[in-house]
Subunit: 413 residues, 2 copies
């Protein structure tokens, strides 16, 4: 089945500059796909500080286990990613495949296996034949170049309809540094053919613990606030590498996450992650509209987030958006089922700038025509005011269309 | 849009006997639908003991508020149900509509408004014009008859494709009594056009507190263990009325829920509720297959239930079932995301009697052909063995098809 590019794709892909200390190569390993790249290697010629955030699944993939183990020491020399096979729920053979890949990558890059990071995305439960691509890694290290971020983003795609790229330039204490990032998504997450993977690199000289603290904070309002279908992958992986090569240009080396000189970097990291996360939502399987759910006036930010997720994950809200139906009754339903404090008679709901409900009933000035106008847009902002406190959160999602069902269910029909 | 009868409908509708002390009437009130009944009245000529279980939504409908209030005194003389309008999120006007209906019903039945129970199902947020049908209630009381359970089940339908009926005959201390039940569902729950409502009546002489205790217990493995789309209505209502008229035939009157003479009744009540609940799942919007998810070996029954619901609510599992795809990787994903204890390397998964995964990987004897055979059946049993403890639960659901999206999203296309 051929799937057209999402109507929500960015008009032009971001052009990513080189990051000193990062070299990239891709290959067609034929793991599952034909006539496209499915293997990515990133090489850090000097040890890069690394931070990572992973799926909360109790059934994580073998590469997630390996990354968690290797993260403890805080340095990376190589990243190897394959698409087409998730190496998840593959038992002993899965661990053998990650060990084999890490050893081959370490040999090729001239480092220890514990300095190699891995990610896999694709089919679950199918043994990954690492012997098939391990021999390619030496050639990748030799041929790797700094100007291949787009190729990197393309090699990790599964059911994505466009590669996801973003970049930010910021100053640390007056010295310019860059952050680049790529991501893949599609289902959030369709373990058979997808997984959220994202890899970032910067030339800033920031130590691993500070990097980890900033990444963990930035992931909450971004990747942890997007949902396509409420399904969490066994394989979600987000890694941030800091080569530190900017130090050679006189940029400061920073250890402390609270160092005030990181202010701009922290903001740029948050903005870049949100950019990538929204690109993932906007390329959700079958998506035709982005849904932006903001809940405010909740008893806490966490309560606001739970209610926003309840709305964004509701199949009935998502199908209504697909049908361009300003069905605010379903928003009331999703607020009610979230389990967080809510007072029916204080609720107000906006679709875009149209207030559709207030004080526990339909807005007296409600105009079906005005609300329908909002629903025809590609982005649908839904705002719920609870009137209870100062808690606030925004979640990004997409609509639920027949194409989602077709992509995920039409194997035999 | 005309929707064909679910392929999972029972081959024949259950024929419900009369229950002494219950009279039923229906009418075409034209609340929303044309050329069909949309108003149901049940009259109990003597006060019936009543028990009820309601939605956990924080935004309950006005009739749910009224039922909760009136339940305290434990007796009912009349039930009025309308379809086509949920009277939910209707604010002050919603409360005025329930008050007006209760007063009109009380006047017609010759009782107090506090002895009247109400339920409404249909559109949310639209004011319910109770003045339209209140004048009909007096005629309904006059014309009500005991042999109209099927008419009752039909009058409360919304997007249901068949009426849901069940009956059980049991003995209490050697004396035969009957339990009848009707239900409506469709989405679980599509607030725009659906809500789970169920009404039961028995001639047994059981006091309200005992009735309430048994109902609460029986609802957990039945109505609280079905899910169509994970969306909870503002209006879910389950009421059980006991007329006590069997006492005139010498049946015992029972006050204590622990009375051992209730054993058979308790079992029949559980079986009848499960029967109705499964009829609701099998008539889920767009459903073509019933999914029966059993999780065993969990650390507790509640943990098993949470994992079973995570599987049964997963859009990816449900679309795979729709596509007749034995995609056990998505079951692993859903176990992993449930948040309950699970050990990937001890998991075993069965589709029907075919073991597809064991010991954290694909079953060595896995046969795609055998698994596909199971997936072609109308009922798909999925069993997950966690190998951790004795916790066990079964949840009933249905597949997610393009028809679900069409029913809930095709308003403007």
């Amino acid at each position: 089945m051929s799937v057209p590019v999402s109507p929500l794709a960015p008009p032009a892909l971001a052009a990513l500059p080189e990051i000193a200390g990062v070299r990239i190569a891709t290959a067609e390993a034929g793991i599952k796909y034909k006539n496209r790249t499915d293997l990515l290697m990133m090489v850090f010629d000097r040890p890069a500080a690394v931070a990572g955030v992973f799926t909360r699944s109790k059934c994580p993939s073998a590469p997630v286990d390996l990354c968690r183990d290797n993260l403890a020491q805080g340095f990376a020399r190589a990243l190897v990613v394959n698409s087409g096979n998730a190496n998840a729920f593959t038992g002993r053979r899965g661990r053998e495949a990650t060990a084999l890949t890490a050893e081959a990558a370490a040999k090729a890059a001239g480092c220890e296996p514990s300095e190699v990071f891995l990610a896999s995305t694709g089919v679950i439960g199918e043994p990954l034949d690492a012997a098939r691509f391990a021999p390619l890694l030496e050639g990748l290290v030799t041929s790797a170049g700094a100007d291949r971020w787009r190729e990197a983003a393309e090699a990790i795609m599964t059911t994505d309809t466009y590669p996801k790229l973003a970049t930010r330039s910021v100053s640390i204490d007056g010295c310019a540094v860059t952050i680049n990032g790529i991501a893949k998504g599609a289902g959030m997450i369709a373990p058979d053919m997808a997984t959220m993977l994202s890899f970032l690199a910067t030339d800033a000289a920031i130590a691993a613990p500070a990097l980890q603290a900033m990444l963990k904070e930035a992931v909450e309002p971004s990747f942890n606030s997007v949902t396509v279908d409420s399904d969490t992958s066994t394989s979600d992986t987000l890694l941030l590498f800091a080569t530190g090569s900017a130090a050679a240009r006189g940029c400061p080396a920073i250890d402390d996450p609270k160092d005030p000189r990181l202010g701009e970097f922290r903001q740029a990291l948050a903005s870049l992650l949100l950019d990538l996360a929204r690109q993932v939502a906007r390329d959700g399987e079958g998506a035709r509209k982005e849904i932006q759910v903001t809940v405010q006036g909740a008893t806490s930010d966490q309560a606001a987030k739970r209610i926003a997720l309840s709305i964004a994950n509701s199949p009935l809200v998502k199908t209504a958006v697909a049908g361009e139906d300003a069905n605010w009754g379903r928003v009331v339903m999703a607020v009610g089922k979230a389990g967080e404090e809510a007072d029916r008679d204080r609720l107000a709901i906006h679709f875009g700038d149209i207030r559709v409900a207030v004080g526990g009933e339909r807005d007296p000035d409600y105009s079906e025509a005005a609300a329908s106008q909002v629903m025809r847009r590609p982005e649908i902002p839904i705002t719920v005011e609870l009137g209870l406190g100062n808690g606030r959160w925004t979640v990004y999602s997409c609509d639920l269309t027949k194409e989602y069902v077709a992509i995920n269910g039409d194997y035999r029909s």
